[in-house]
Subunit: 359 residues, 4 copies
């Protein structure tokens, strides 16, 4: 099948099929339906009743359990895969081979080797391969990216990310593979191109006898000498989703669960006075203070990240240029996840990342 098959006629919407009607699929279904540049053709799941329930009683969208049927449909130009990670390789590979553009849930694949196969296949066929790193498309993260790329914070000195969830322990993967892809894909997305992670160490604990880490801490060395630290945790009765980006000029605090003030940018960076230059009185003043420097909380328009992500998938297909979170970004995230797993197994050793492998 030729690549041209994957392009709709000029100005026509892109025909899309969603594969997988489980936890995440319904969100994709809803957003593709609401996006004019796409036309949802089919929803595919082995359990057709589940797929029908997702569509509801009023839908004209077709349901099928047969992937081959989907891939054979010339009106389907692209597929969005929301199946378990272990199935990403065969499903996505079949789609690429059928000339379809592919959107894959995070993580891109179960291993780097598998991910590399997909990236290679898409590249050789000139097809769009995109990873659904949803958080990257939130208004807050898009703004953080702008600010960091424009150097508004000065040099980045540290990044501290905390993602604590409500105790939904996964069966097949540990907390690092479940939650850290969010933080790692955000890091990949917002860092200025010149700065890359070069090594990672991970510590974790099982705690509840789940058989895999339920709490974990990742420490990344960045090529600039800065440090990035990620705390992921399943075992919490409260949600926390905050990140601090400490720069030489300004420091940014992102609190994703505070909708009236998701981003706060503090004027004062980390170039601070030493107490030697301060009298006792001044030192005391600083220590009883709660904050230094003015803070600006920019207004952000609330917009569903998935809608923006879906539009970016359309843009990438239409223009033939890489998506902001393309397969390669998915691969970079996979590399860090694999290295973190190795570090975890070795009790916290710092593991070097070799981006050469990704070329």
């Amino acid at each position: 099948m030729s690549v041209s098959a994957s392009r709709p006629a000029l100005d026509d919407p892109i025909g899309i099929a969603v594969i997988g009607a489980g936890y995440w699929g319904p969100n994709l279904v809803r957003n593709f339906q609401a996006t004019p540049s796409f036309r949802l053709r089919r929803l595919c799941d082995l359990d057709v009743e589940r797929a029908q329930r997702v569509l509801g009683a009023y839908s004209t969208v077709q349901v099928t359990a047969d992937l081959d049927e989907v891939l054979a449909d010339p009106d389907v130009h692209a597929v969005a895969i929301a199946t378990p990670a272990g199935t990403h390789l065969p499903v996505a590979m079949a789609a690429l081979r059928a000339g379809k553009h592919v959107l894959v849930e995070k993580p891109l694949a179960a291993t780097m080797a598998e991910g590399r196969e997909l990236v290679g296949e898409a590249a050789s066929r000139g097809l769009t391969l995109m990873c659904d790193h949803t958080y990257c498309y939130t208004p807050a993260v898009l703004r953080i990216r702008e600010l960091l790329h424009a150097g508004e914070l000065g040099d980045l000195h540290f990044l501290d990310s905390v993602r604590i969830n409500l105790g939904l322990v996964q069966r097949d993967i540990d907390v690092v593979w479940d939650l850290a892809p969010h933080d790692l894909s955000i890091l990949d997305f917002v860092l200025p191109p010149a700065i890359r992670p070069v090594a990672v160490a991970a510590h974790g604990a099982d705690g509840i006898g789940a058989g895999r880490a339920c709490v974990a801490y990742l420490t990344l060395q960045l090529s600039s000498g800065a440090i990035a630290h990620i705390h992921v945790n399943w075992l919490s009765p409260v949600k926390v989703r905050t990140a601090i980006f400490g720069g030489s000029k300004r420091t940014l605090v992102w609190d994703d669960l505070n909708p009236s003030q998701r981003l706060a940018i503090y004027d004062r960076g980390v170039d601070v006075a030493s107490p030697d230059e301060l009298g006792d009185e001044q030192r005391r003043d600083i220590l009883i203070s709660y904050r230094s420097g003015d803070m600006v909380a920019p207004a952000l328009t609330e917009r569903e990240a998935l809608r923006t992500m879906v539009e970016e998938f359309g843009r990438a297909i239409t223009t033939g240029t890489p998506a902001l979170t393309d397969g390669r970004s998915g691969l970079r995230v996979l590399e860090i996840l694999q290295a973190a797993s190795r570090s975890l197994a070795e009790g916290g050793t710092m593991i070097k990342l070799d981006e050469g492998q990704l070329a």
Copy 2:
């Protein structure tokens, strides 16, 4: 000089001298003056004008620059040392040898070896040696200790402590030695006696070219298999002081900067359902939830921690029993600090703690 010299006559207040009128000394002066079981005799500082400024224009307390004079005064039964850590050994040792009970600012001494000398000297003379781990005497930490000792949280699975300060970079010590003593002394204070830290790893970054770590992360393995993690940071425009204690029955969140709700105890521990047992709908419900289980925020009386600490010093002297934060607890904190420094220098190696040395 006999130990009896260090006891006031029955029911008389304990004569106390404060050594050091710098940053912390004034707080000790104020609290000893406000505590009936003590009688503040002298304030000693090499800079007598500074000492006089601390006392103000209306005080009857004597000022001196001469430590020997203080130690020779039979009405001085105890001294409180608020001088730089490097001077703790000679000053405290002289005081102990003069038969005075001793309170020392954190850290107990500059090294474990020095700390061990002090502990030995106090023990052999039957004198009280106490470490001013102020945070342990806050109403919140005292309550946390009660709850953990009574098993109210069930088994402790993880502790996550964050202490982010307003960019006051110290000249002579790194952020671990500056801030982590607070978290480590709290950990030492609240853990049930059967559980002890057995190893520590530390990662850090300088960032601003200060010549020592300004951001650091400590990971402690506890003897029970639980994990404790401490984030200390000088480079922040906002203060954060929170700790999460995750237990099998309940989870406790301490937010020291939220006076109306410093402690929040969540009914739900970490013994959570696996998503396998849940349908897609339930899983979605959990993921859109912000919290699970009822929460109780106990009322805490506001009370200055230093006042309680000073009273505990008085109690220990009067009864001849160890203070809650005695020299040995200071020594345990020192051991972890030293191991953390070694780990930091070695790039994050996990360093075993040897409590045998402390015996």
Copy 3:
């Protein structure tokens, strides 16, 4: 047309039509589609393109601009009216006369007289007339109702409600008619049956020359002697939606914009000590405290209020019993709104409410 026409066959879903595809209609469309006890038959709007946009490109639901056609359809057993308040009387009356059960957006009608006509018509025909007081069906308000009806707070002493919105100034109504129906319907919903508002005074200000009040304060006297106060405001850059229910045994704080802690119940009621019984020291302690008494924040399941409201409409139709927010509750809210308008015009006079009129 007989009333029996408004009942579906046993166990069949209730055929429903939504009238009005403007701001609120889409929410009704979505929720009726998701509720098994209903079958959405038609969406009716004078602007059929707008109605079609609301349904999207994948829907089997019929669109029409012709209300008569809808009312003539025997498969339509009920209608949900989301048109401007001024049209509620003719549209709802036509529907009732056609034997349809009716759900109406708040306010029930433009005037009490109109509302009374609708209530009378529905009663005489034995049809369900329900007012969509959405907030009453949030998990938080349902819980507040339970607590107040069960006497868990003791006697209610005061209610203070604040609803500050993001500057969306309405053209045809003032802020009292736009926002206060929410607070008044909640008040009507949660108060124990023995307690009723007996008088209302209102103060307001235009401020921006909008030609009608943009900020307003309502003070209600309750039959028990308690006070209820409502602050509604269009002129704010921040949203606030809180209410405090002060009781003799407990006090409840509802913060609708804090999803992790919407409800907080404080053990301490208002039966407090007088300072005469306290020494200066105790008085000082209280004044520096931030809170008294333990607090419990019950876990609430997140659920869309509109879904619960739609189910209650179904329940009322099926059982032939009044809905929790039936036409009469809409009428009680209208009475207070009209009295508040009169008070506003008279500069804040306290206006007596005459529930006798409602009988």
Copy 4:
């Protein structure tokens, strides 16, 4: 006694005596001692033991129960009166007649007539008469005053102030006289000179059978047409101290209990779009938003308000110019309190204020 007696020799500190060692006196004692421009000479209380306890065991300050003795002392140039409001007239009048400058706790006196006597006496003798409106001297209120006087918010459209306290019911006064002086003095302090309150209405409730209002709401009409509303409440388990200043250019939110962000200034004023100009989609976007416009939270130095107040008292004495919160400001607050009491007694009538009386 001549007025010259009330001036210390050039550059010498002002001799001050504090009258009253009850709840507030100790704060004055501490701050006068810490302020170089004053020299605390005496602490006067009928209960000399209480006065001695306030000074502590280490003070050189003299204690006395004899007011005449204090007023006869030529080294006492000024007195600070912290006795119950009912005693302000005789004590302050005696002090003025003895040629002493006078600082009085709020309220200035028990009635306007008494307050007017004091203002007249001080004016005729050329002595400083100042009211301790402490809140006006907080860094936050000083900043609000600057912003409002400089027109930074544009025209003020509304002010909404909430002061909810922890259930400390007073015996002799109602909640209006206990708490509203804070809000009214702040209002007096921050309003640009051209704008004045012209009328006030008050509603209240007793609730707990205390025999006087425990919850009250004051509505003030300002000369500019703007509205100011004050909610004071003794019956709360949580403290709230917030005020919103809505302006045509910007809106300011003051949250006095959020030390890391006491002031937040929102770019967007109240000059908002009407929904008529918006499509349904835009209207929906606004309604799901939590905020509009950027926000700036200026850094404020933490400083004890009482220290600044005491310095202002010194400045007023030394320069012979009125204090920022002089007797006349105390009188303006008294006028509103009296009018509010009358309104409360009359069931909420709007009472006109007659500033002519104050001239």
